[in-house]
């Protein structure tokens, strides 16, 4: 057997000697991480944290049509469920906005409805506070969605107009518009059907609970290295010299260490997955989250995620160079980048500067990898990013491990 294979075999054995400590550590970490995630989830989604969105509406004087339109909009299920509209004068609205009593003020222009009908589209000015919180952002999303719906309807009308003109039937345009409006309204008014079935989540394409389960798992995976800290320390200078003499350089040592830790992560994850599934089957069968199948079909992705997580952790311990330093750096770096990745609070709620950083954070990449595993949607970009994280971690570990000391 080649000296490299023997070395890697021994590295795996060395890693798996830490299996009992890692399982014990995993149990404690899982409890702590679950508690943190639960609190974060409650803070984010409880009524107490994000209450109803109070919006002031400044109406033009004597514009009954505009008032009717606002009443209709405010009665829509999607709006009614989170927004409270109050008619208000402009100065008072601005005052309340500054005082934080309103999350937005809608300043309606003169002749809004006529403008929509004739295509001149006068703008509704919406004022947000400078330090817009989640409530203001939610309202902004709602108004933008409303504007897009209106634009789509107008595009339909314009399309009808053009068709009539092409066919030389300009005289029938008013009748066509009337009928088209009736037909469009008949389809669009029972829109609650759409809203009931289309759930838009800050957490992307997975349920909030599943997102936090994934987020907890990824943080747990990174911190799981703590019980195996001594395995991650660079070899002593003497050992490095001897290994180098035997032809085992930085690359081989990095590969062995990442493979060892990654395999250990994988084994503990599988064990925890099976235990979690067993507990659920015994106590929460009615919940219906039977995900063991995704573990069976998605294990290659899980292995890849574990290896990528191991490479990230390896780099941190190489940088620190000592047991205590490595552990402190791991805790700090793992939690900080997990926050930036939107692991505690979904990235859409983070300031825009931080939102740009989120996709390149290791946790975000690992979270996407686990999503691939759970949804069985083998998105190439997500898989590629996990591979890239693994490769970058490997190269950095190899360079630092190969340094002469």
């Amino acid at each position: 057997m080649s000296v490299h294979l023997i070395f890697w075999k021994l590295e795996l054995k060395r890693a798996f000697l830490r299996f009992p400590q890692m399982v014990a550590g995993a149990t404690v970490l899982l409890f702590l991480a679950s508690a943190v995630a639960l609190l974060a989830s409650r803070a984010l989604y409880d009524d107490a944290a994000v209450g109803r969105v109070a919006v002031g509406v400044v109406m033009p004087e004597d514009d009954l049509l505009a008032r009717q339109m606002v009443t209709m909009v405010s009665s829509l299920d999607s709006v009614k469920s989170i927004c409270d509209f109050q008619y208000i004068e402009r100065p008072e609205g601005l005052k309340k906005l500054q005082a934080g009593e309103l999350y937005a003020v809608m300043d309606m222009p003169e002749g809004l409805l006529q403008g929509i009908m004739d295509g001149s589209n006068p703008s509704v000015r919406i004022l947000f506070p400078s330090d817009a919180g989640p409530e203001s952002r939610i309202f902004r999303e709602l108004t933008e969605a409303g504007a897009r719906t209106l634009s789509a309807a107008q595009a339909g009308i314009y399309g009808g107009n053009e068709l009539c003109r092409r066919l030389g039937r300009e005289g029938e345009i008013p009748e066509m518009e009337r009928e088209l409006n009736e037909i469009f309204l008949s389809y669009s008014l029972p829109r609650e059907h759409y809203f009931r079935h289309m759930l838009v989540k800050a957490t992307g394409d997975v349920e909030t609970k599943i997102f936090y389960a994934i987020s907890v798992f990824v943080l747990f995976l990174l911190l799981l290295a703590i019980p195996a800290s001594d395995y991650l320390l660079p070899f002593s200078p003497v050992m490095k010299k001897k290994l180098k003499l035997a032809g085992i350089g930085g690359m081989s040592r990095a590969a062995g260490r990442i493979a060892g830790l990654g395999s250990l992560f994988f084994a503990v994850s599988l064990l925890m997955g099976v235990v979690a599934w067993g507990v659920k089957e015994c106590f929460f069968a009615a919940a219906g989250y039977g995900e063991l199948s995704s573990l069976i079909t998605g294990w290659p992705m899980l292995l890849l995620v574990c290896l990528a997580a191991a490479s990230f952790v390896s780099v941190l311990y190489q940088i620190a160079g000592s047991l205590l330093g490595g552990t402190m750096l791991l805790v700090l770096a793992a939690t900080a980048q997990h926050f930036l990745a939107g692991g505690f609070l979904p990235a859409v709620f983070l300031p825009s500067v931080l939102q740009k950083l989120a996709p390149v954070m290791p946790s975000a990449i690992l979270i996407d990898g686990i999503k691939v595993m759970l949804t069985a949607d083998w998105e190439l970009m997500a898989c590629g990013k996990v591979l890239l994280l693994l490769a970058v971690g490997f190269v950095l570990t190899a360079v630092m491990e190969g340094r002469e000391t």
Binding site: I6, F7, K13, R14, S236, K241, K242, L245, A246
Partner: protein, 223 residues
């Protein structure tokens, strides 16, 4: 046969070794002494191929080793001052990492080879961390010799070992020498140096030969 010619080494502007030239014949034991930090470990590391020399030639049995790691790997058995062992693994695992040869041959060596002679043949399943300092040193020597090299390079082999262990290692080295193999060692202990057939003092980067049997006080005066 080891021939060292004009080997030199400097770290930045500090010259550690300058024009080091000597030979070691089969059955010879060469001792290198000198003050702490004089470059003994650097010299041994260069002879073992663990550190690259800035210039010069090192020939093992006529084969040029400088620039050819394979020659070092096959011809030199290097035992550094600190034990290059993986503490959590067993004695057998550590041996298997360095061993060049089949599993069968390793099992035979554990029964009759250097490992057996050093008294670690029956400790195969013990984790290294449970061994005493002396046993670890013996294991380090056995690991180094797992390539069956004919030149054994030892950096202070007796440091921090008890009397009994030192005596056992000395006994093994005598047997090794009698078998026509060569030893190069550094030490601060006269008993260990009594094994040497040739002695050098390393001072200001240069080797100066001294007669064997020089007493401790006289030797220290030469540092």
């Amino acid at each position: 046969m080891l021939e060292v010619k004009s080997v030199c080494k400097a770290y930045a502007k500090h010259t550690v070794l300058s024009d080091i030239t000597f030979t070691v014949s089969p059955g010879e034991c060469v001792g290198i002494v000198g003050a702490n930090g004089c470059g003994k470990t650097t010299l041994l590391s260069i002879l073992a191929g663990a550190v690259r020399a800035d210039g010069g030639s090192i020939r093992y049995h006529g084969r040029e080793a400088v620039g050819s790691p394979r020659v070092f790997d096959e011809e030199a058995a290097y035992v550094p001052q600190e034990n290059p062992l993986i503490e959590e693994l067993t004695v057998r695992d550590n041996l298997s990492l360095w061993y060049r040869g089949s599993k069968k041959r390793m099992a035979e060596d554990l029964e009759h080879g250097p490992a057996a002679m050093l008294g670690i043949g029956e400790m195969g399943k013990k984790p290294v961390r449970t061994l005493s300092g002396g046993m670890k040193k013996r294991l380090s020597i056995a690991c180094a010799l797992s390539n069956h090299a004919s030149v054994l390079i030892l950096d202070e082999p007796g440091a921090a070992l008890d009397m009994e262990c030192k005596a056992d290692i000395r006994h093994y080295l005598e047997e090794y020498k009698k078998a026509g193999k060569s030893i190069i060692l550094t030490s601060h202990e006269m008993q260990e140096l009594s094994l040497c057939t040739v002695m050098y003092v390393l001072k200001q980067g240069k080797l100066h030969q001294v007669r064997t049997g020089t007493d401790e006080r006289e030797l220290m005066g030469l540092f």
